[in-house]
């Protein structure tokens, strides 16, 4: 099963795209790197080269040396920018405070997102990072790459930027860290014209959607996470680039309830794959687990001796709904009572597999604490079939956005709006009925906002009529 792009993708060949020659790419020796000192004294930053975990400082120094040894006309941002960045980091450690200025409105024409302005407040000391703007590049779904693409990105960003990036930012984009205002449009033109690649979202936009690796390399994914993510990202390009929302909005796609991209905690609209038929059981494999032939949990616990695998203790007793039992040497699951938490499947992946009638649950409203406290997404739509081009899902998205754009206050996330109006109002917007699955328990106060149309005779009454029955 192959997926096709919406528009034809030209194949990128690094050999045709490249800026730097092989000699330029290998322009320093290990000996030179060992002896290399950045131009500023950075004792505390140097300290961070020690220890086994990869040192970002050691890595940055490579780039600093590489730039230093490139000819001056072989990059458009000052060759010392990495050294200046490390120098400013040392001053920040000394002062215990950041030295980046607040904000700065920069961008590319016609877009309201994708570029974040950044200026140093120590521009005389560190002139090459006086401007150090960020550009967000929308990552390919679930972050698979080939080296032609990555090498081209590297040449582009070393030539027109600092050569420093994030693989990846928190939302999922490739983050280009550090360039001057002059280079924002040129970088954008190179990205779009040469690499057929767009910027990601920032500001009060749809942010670059992201997804888990899904069916590409996971046996549990119940939805085509990449395809859904790709389709919705492309379909909503206008919302991604041109701010029309009260605040940010995030889509994340998890293939199963294990939640590897954290959609339930980190997205305004969380899509989580699930199934509605039965867990598939291979009884022979169940026996193999019981017999100790297959390590439980895919071998995840093999670093410690936890004793012999005990299906009763480790699976059946830990099932949150207690819907499993061994009967005549066979594992039985009462699927009707199962809440699909994934525990038994995680422990015995070769014996148990999600069902085949799959789709996703849709939850709304997660966000970090700013401002009214952190929220997780609320289960709203239990099951939706997910077939391209996902028209049923787009309809839901648009109902939600229409309401949020109409009623949301400046910088109010969807989750906060739902809390301000209540779930019943949200259900009205979505045109769906209530279900007990939306709450952990029903309300304990009787303060129901009855509507006039709910009550026979309505709210309009005549006081004189009342007084005819009841004296003052």
């Amino acid at each position: 099963m192959a997926f096709e792009p919406r528009e034809e993708q030209k194949e990128l060949k690094y050999q045709e795209l490249r800026i730097y020659s092989d000699d330029e790419l290998h322009n320093y020796t290990e000996e030179e790197l060992k002896n290399f000192k950045v131009k500023h004294p950075i004792p505390d930053v140097d300290e961070l080269e020690k220890g086994p975990w990869p040192s970002f400082v050691a890595d940055a120094k490579r780039e600093a040396l590489h730039r230093k040894k490139l000819a001056d006309d072989r990059m458009l941002i000052n060759s010392e920018c990495v050294e200046d960045l490390l120098g400013q980091l040392q001053v920040s450690f000394d002062d215990g405070e950041t030295h980046w200025k607040h904000g700065g409105i920069v961008g590319v024409f016609g877009y309201g997102g994708g570029v974040i302005g950044r200026y140093s407040d120590l521009q005389e000391q560190f002139p090459s990072i006086a401007h150090f703007h960020t550009m967000r590049v929308n990552q390919p779904m679930s972050k698979f790459y080939n080296t032609d693409y990555l090498r081209a990105i590297c040449d582009l960003w070393e030539y027109r930027g600092s050569g420093l990036l994030n693989m990846h930012g928190s939302t999922g984009d490739i983050i280009f860290l550090g360039t001057f205002t002059e280079q924002l449009e040129p970088v954008f033109y190179e990205l779009t014209h040469v690499l057929q690649q767009d910027l990601g979202g920032s500001g009060s936009n749809l942010r670059s959607p992201s997804c888990c690796l899904g069916k590409a390399r996971c046996e549990w994914s119940c939805i085509d996470t990449q395809d859904m993510c790709y389709e919705l990202t492309h379909y909503y390009q206008d919302e991604l680039h041109r701010p029309a929302f009260p605040y940010k909005f995030k889509f994340k796609f998890d293939g199963c309830p294990n939640g590897c991209v954290a959609s339930i905690a980190r997205s305004d609209m969380s899509y989580i794959g699930t199934w509605r038929d039965n867990i598939r059981i291979d009884q022979e494999a169940v026996q193999a687990y019981i017999g100790g032939e297959i390590p439980p949990n895919g071998g995840a616990h093999s670093g410690r001796d936890w004793g012999k695998f005990d299906i009763q203790k480790e699976v059946i007793d830990l099932c949150p709904t207690k819907c499993m039992r061994m009967e005549d040497g066979k594992l039985e699951i009462n699927d009707k009572e199962c809440t699909r938490c994934m525990h038994c499947i995680n422990v015995m992946p070769r014996a148990l597999r999600p069902g085949l009638d799959t789709g996703c649950s849709i939850l709304f409203g997660a966000k970090a604490p700013i401002l009214e406290g952190a929220q997780m997404s609320v289960l709203t739509i239990p099951f939706v079939k997910c077939e391209p081009p996902y028209e049923n899902i787009k309809e839901i998205v648009e109902k939600v956005w229409d309401w949020w754009m109409e009623e949301g206050k400046n910088r109010e996330r969807l989750g906060e709006l739902i809390q301000r109006y209540g779930i019943p109002k949200f259900l009205e917007v979505l045109e769906i009925p209530a279900m007990p699955q939306m709450v952990t328990e029903p309300r304990s106060n009787p303060y129901i906002f009855w509507k006039e149309e709910d009550v026979p005779g309505g709210f309009k009454r005549d006081i004189n009529e009342y007084r005819a029955r009841h004296k003052r």
Partner: protein, 395 residues
């Protein structure tokens, strides 16, 4: 078409809209799947972790893909990415992927190729000695710490990110390369409450936090900020309009109402909060994302504040280690930190982790009642006896 080397490339500032391409979106994913992934898409049957950091996925077609997972720094240079490409070209037909938690995954289609790849990765070190591609981050162990920008690129941090993550991971490196814990431990780091790293559902969350109210730049506030927006930004209504002695429009702050969230500074550069002595680190624990067994949980504040000891944060590292080790020793198999704390009771969690419990840890914000304990079920710990003594209930 090659990448251009002209100063402004394909962009003509005289005609900025000329030839402008927009709304292209991301490139399509399918071309970046290696053949073994394309051929087995949706056909994966099961997986196994062969050793820490090394997975094999087996397809219904009989194909196997071997994955070697390496820890990576989120902040990296193009030099590092080029080295990743060299490895991918040498072993993986030019394909590579990154995980949500900033790990790098190299995939090959046979055990032999995997062994060669593994050897190559283990041999690569920076000149100053740290690993470039440590293998690990799988199963019941510690995986990479996701984090934010910190002093390297952000204007609102209360601490630095990359240096803290490096320090904590140096300290817990064996847990990254092992699978000796009761379940996976997800540590996340955000350098201010804006939490662009969204750490609020992590087993352990490290959070930069301010402790001094904003200082007001009366000279410029009226010119640079929308004063009503600054006032509206405050969730506790601590900010109100004021005038300076010279009659300039400004704001005043009821300091006892400030909870140091920094939302006002996000709206207005004239009210900075950062302060060397005020800023530090809050530790939260017991959160998770997964729906496995128990529902997803928020992390809870277990250490209200620790100082920013740049560049190595010994106190933060020691606290994290203490929690991880107490958990490793006491929790049941499959139990996440939050599940463990819930089973033994949070009073026991503080005792076992040897963490002091102070009034800072009792919620007094909007939804505080949700956390009140309204039962007589509790466990006796030293903290309980202290209360009884203070209340005159016992000697």
């Amino acid at each position: 078409m090659a990448l251009s080397t002209e100063r402004l490339g394909l962009y003509n500032p005289e005609k900025p809209m000329e030839n402008r391409l927009t709304d292209l979106g991301p490139r399509h994913f399918w071309q970046y799947f290696p053949p073994i992934i394309q051929n087995n898409y949706g056909k994966w049957k099961y997986h196994e972790i062969l050793e820490p950091g090394i997975l094999v996925h087996v397809s219904e077609t009989g194909d196997k893909v071997f994955t070697v997972r390496c820890g990576g720094c989120r902040f990296m240079s193009v030099e590092h990415v080029r080295e990743i490409c060299d490895i991918a070209d040498k072993h993986c037909d030019g394909y590579v992927r990154f995980t949500t938690r900033n790990n790098i995954e190299f995939m090959v289609d046979s055990q032999d190729k995997m062994e060669a790849l593994k050897k190559d990765l283990e041999s690569r070190k920076h000149v100053s000695g740290s690993y470039k591609f440590p293998i690990g981050g799988t199963g019941a162990g510690l995986t990479n710490i996701v984090h934010t920008q910190g002093f390297l690129h952000c204007h609102t941090p209360a601490t630095d990110a990359s240096s803290m993550v490096k320090s904590v991971l140096d300290d817990l490196f064996d847990y990254f390369q092992g699978m000796t814990l009761p379940a996976q431990v997800r540590i996340s780091m955000a350098c201010c409450l804006n939490m662009c790293g969204a750490v609020h559902c992590s087993d352990i969350a490290l959070l930069g936090y301010h402790r001094k109210p904003p200082v007001i730049d009366h000279e410029v506030i009226d010119a640079l900020c929308e004063i009503p927006l600054v006032i509206a930004a405050c969730p506790t209504g601590a900010i109100s309009p004021a005038k300076t002695e010279e009659g300039k429009k400004t704001v005043k702050i009821k300091e006892e109402r400030c909870m140091f969230c920094g939302n006002c500074y996000t709206m207005c550069m004239a009210v900075p909060l950062a302060d060397k002595e005020g800023d530090g680190v809050t530790i939260l624990a017991g959160g998770k994302i997964s729906n496995r067994m128990s529902p997803p949980q928020f992390s809870k504040v277990v250490v209200p504040w620790l100082p920013n000891e740049f560049p190595r944060y010994p106190d933060v590292c020691a606290h994290v280690k203490r929690i991880v080790e107490a958990y490793a020793k006491d929790a049941n198999k499959y139990e996440r930190i939050g599940d463990w704390a819930k089973r033994i009771g949070w009073e026991r969690f503080f005792e076992k982790c040897d963490l002091p419990f102070t009034d800072h840890l009792i919620d007094d914000y909007r939804l505080q009642y949700d956390t009140y304990r309204t039962t007589t079920q509790f466990k006796y710990t030293e903290a309980a006896w202290e209360v009884s003594r203070a209340a005159g209930g016992i000697e």
